[in-house]
Symmetry: C3
Subunit: 414 residues, 3 copies
């Protein structure tokens, strides 16, 4: 008993730090896909979002998301401030697979993800202070409230056919995706992106960092999905590893082929986002799918990413890194796929999946629209045009990301 | 029993994702050691090789490499398409240390390595489409066929004194190395590399990425070698960790000293490749060596890398990243070393090691020469001179890796 | 029994490779915070320090640091050259949680850290050869001697109220920090840094690499602190993970706020160093603190880093990466904090902590001052002014880090 408990807990701790490294993945990806004049700003956001997410989750978030039976309602519960360690919290008396501390930390690492997803979509024009205020509110309150609906025993878990979201295609990724959409709508496009009815691509400044980001995210996803088994159960975790891997691989191929057809190019950023799309897509049902299911889900997700990137661009919704396409579109797709493929496929499940997608979507989109709207009316959410053209690194941070390399380049480009 | 099985399987899953991260290591290293005008191309290849390798291994590769007793011959076997999960595949009934899914995925992560090694050697001038076709054939068929000869119970395993290759100095690294040699011979050197009887160095564009790549490869090698124990056996895995570490460290020192003597410089790329040489060298016998053996093997490997890089350059075999020196030369050295040092050292073992080295070498070199030859005669394998000078990023991908930094630099250099 | 032993040993091996990856973190951070003309030099140092540290630790260091009961005195002991594997060294007969090989390798990975910390502080002007000689002496002898005082059963462990240093705020980080201080004092500031009574900032050349470095260090710290439990004990390791995480997060916020007040800027490098400060600060008592303790320790550490960076600059002590502020100042703070917060807080403990801080400080500062002084008088420790202005990459290595990107920039800047 002690031995199995120790092994389960060990895996959950390792999964926790794999999710941690996803934040470096997000930072690298967002850095790579944006311009070098905004790099310090992007790194600063990523280096502060995670600490903010961890601390707010310790102060109150964990106790909102997992209020426990005594405090939970269908839509909201709260077990009080701070970490309230119960009896026997460091043994199997708390949980048969992990300690109280492991439980807290694994969940805490997930929390900041929602804001990180938004960060990419609103990059290169959002005011730093407003973004940090948004992060505190959204990560501190919206994320754990929605999470409680399913993982904390709320109404989505209590449906007759319970809504199913294994590791968070909806509960994590679309929560970020909806807020990204709201932010992009209220902010408007970057200066010069849509000019005289034409779409002007603004390429990211470092494809190596973008690639490093995607590989680190894929690496960390083994903790994100594999840890969501909530034990080191050999059969389940290894199945989840296989479905996660094959969906990512199929996402790359799906995006590669779709990009060859649609944009007629061997487009690296599409392949990279295809990998992420496949990963987001499999997340809702990674433990329910077979090999073929996982490959189909990934292929479709990879294709969807390319189509969605093109679609949002035509809609004049300017998302520098493709976060909405990856996390919202593929989040919805993956959640639906649980009703279409694998062990749970059924009409009733499709209905429950739609209920989950819509209720989370309406709440998150409305709340984030409201937050951004109030911020816009008060602090302002967009930097000045001069600051945007010069770059947020100088405007918000008085620093450059590459001071002795690209000064010259900036003279040429600005 | 359940507890030990869970721990063994956990280690094998973690080893699997450590091997995964080696692919990021390869991508970073190859990026760093080549020119910035070809970076998108290199990242694209690395981001697609792994998905191709994983999917072909799922479709048929695993069942070629491990056909099982019912299907195996001495040279070839095939257990059918797709993943054919046997009874009890997620328990100790399948294997006393890991599940069927873990078994598949650990092996699948190895498979793409062969093509990744080739990618570095043929970089900066090979046509993308031809390389991807090569990858599908070589990773999809040649790699698992050769792997079966030893690890799948084929003729090399059935020798009276069985050929020994613990984690793949020959079965993985030299398989990549032979194809790299064949590719380089058929492609010819990069434009301007050998001019008027002189060797013109074409330095890689980012030493930080090269260094990141080597450290990530070293990190991942703990899964590559440590996972090849096929369980979490404390004594064996920790011994393998120690021999792997000391061989890598000695490889650095061996290359450092040899470079000081031969090229008379504190040459960073030589030290980096020396580390990799030490790692490749210990791979065949990491579980059979003592501390002193491991250090000697690493020192020699580090020295060999430097000498081989100089030698191949004199032979006008243009290998931008030194892949042939690292993976083929040190792969051969490490395989031979099993007969010279450690527990298995004996005359009979040396003979068996030579049989393995030669049979794998003849097969891989001949087959890859044939594939590249047919590709050369049909699709063509080399980009045009104009495309090569302008860079493959524009020619094959219509993108730049650093669009707002090095435009200026390219004007200066091209 | 076997199962628990296997799990404990597995965690210790994984912790070992997490500490390994910290060396990539140090390399990336130091690269990012210095100028591109010295990047090859910095990478070269980092790629050779670790091999030197590992090999010297195998040759004699481990047997100095852990001489065993038969050989230990209060201040020095030595169990002979090489690795002397005792009976039953690969089973619970050696240690109930890990094998002899795991024990050696986990400790060996720590050893090189001391020199790596120094490397950052003396960067951009120290002679390569002198630095490597310093590394061999300091890592090979000083580090294990000091380590023995506490972890090898020496006099600091034998105090009536034993000095407490869980994972090495003093024994590792301040050991590096004191030598960094000595080196900076003897070397003097970089050319142009303090000019006409003014402080001229010399910004690092790549904020993305600096950020990657900090995230990798944070990641690796889970092995550094979590492995210092010396088993996979679920309650203890998960508590250590939580205190480590929250201290890092609080360090970021402490530095963020302090920088806004003191330097009036959203300063990315301060936030990054604040994270590291929080991590160093919690290291001495990571297993003794509660949630609130950890957050306070981190907040103070983050504030201290900013104040210390400003202070050392005013003192004309030129530390390009802030290593003295992070590792020495926060190392002292974290060690003291064990007497002020958490389970061990008491007056007697404060006294013991001061004894440990001072005895280690006096020894390390004096010895490293002596080593650098002798090197200065013989080999010389500083490159020529011309070499410094041109960059150590050309002077020491005849290479550039980014040959096809920043040539142009160097023309502009030099």
């Amino acid at each position: 008993m002690e031995a199995v408990f120790t092994t389960h807990n060990l895996w959950m701790m390792i999964a926790t730090i794999l999710v941690f490294i996803m934040h470096l993945g997000f930072a690298s990806l967002e850095t790579g896909l944006t311009q070098s004049k905004n790099t310090v700003n992007i790194l600063f956001k990523n280096a502060t979002i995670l600490p903010i997410g961890l601390l707010t989750y310790a102060f109150w978030g964990f106790n909102i998301m997992y209020p426990g039976d005594d405090f939970a309602g269908s839509f909201f519960g709260f077990a009080g401030f701070g970490l309230s360690m119960p009896e026997g919290a460091n043994t199997g008396g708390y949980n048969e697979a992990y300690t109280y501390w492991t439980d807290f930390l694994f969940q805490a690492m997930f929390a900041a993800t929602a804001a990180t997803i938004v960060s990419g979509a609103v990059a290169e024009r959002i005011k730093l202070n407003s973004f940090l205020v948004f992060t505190i509110i959204y990560v501190g309150f919206c994320y754990p409230i929605v999470g409680m609906w399913k993982w904390g025993g709320g109404f989505l878990d209590a449906l007759e056919t319970p809504f199913y979201d294994f590791a968070g295609s909806t509960i994590v990724h679309s929560v970020g995706g909806w807020a990204a959409l709201a932010g992009v709508m209220l902010l408007g496009a970057r200066h010069g992106k849509y000019h005289n009815g034409k779409i002007r691509p603004i390429p990211g400044h470092s494809m190596p960092f973008a690639t490093v980001g995607v590989f680190l995210l894929w690496f960390g996803w083994y903790g994100f999905n594999g840890g969501s088994v909530l034990s080191a159960d050999p059969g389940l975790v290894s199945l989840v590893f296989v479905t996660t891997t094959l969906a990512a691989a199929a996402g790359a191929i799906g995006a590669l082929i779709t990009a060859l057809i649609v944009v007629k190019s061997n487009d690296l950023t599409m392949v990279l986002n295809g990998i992420l799309g496949g990963l987001v897509g499999i997340t809702a049902g990674a433990d329910q799918m077979g090999v073929t299911d996982a490959i189909i889900i990934g292929l479709v997700a990879g294709a969807l990413v390319v189509l969605a990137v093109v679609f949002f661009d035509r809609m004049r919704l300017d998302d520098p890194v493709g976060a909405i396409s990856v996390h919202l579109v593929c989040g919805v797709w993956g959640t639906l796929a649980v009703g279409l493929f694998g062990e749970l496929a059924s009409g009733a499940q499709i209905v429950s999946q739609l209920v989950g997608i819509l209720s989370v979507g309406v709440f998150c989109f409305a709340v984030s629209l409201l937050i951004f709207y109030v911020l816009k009316a008060t602090l302002g959410i967009r930097v000045t045009e001069e600051e945007e053209i010069e770059g947020l690194d100088i405007g918000e941070h008085k620093m450059r990301a590459y001071p002795d390399i690209n000064n010259k380049a900036e003279e040429v480009y600005s």
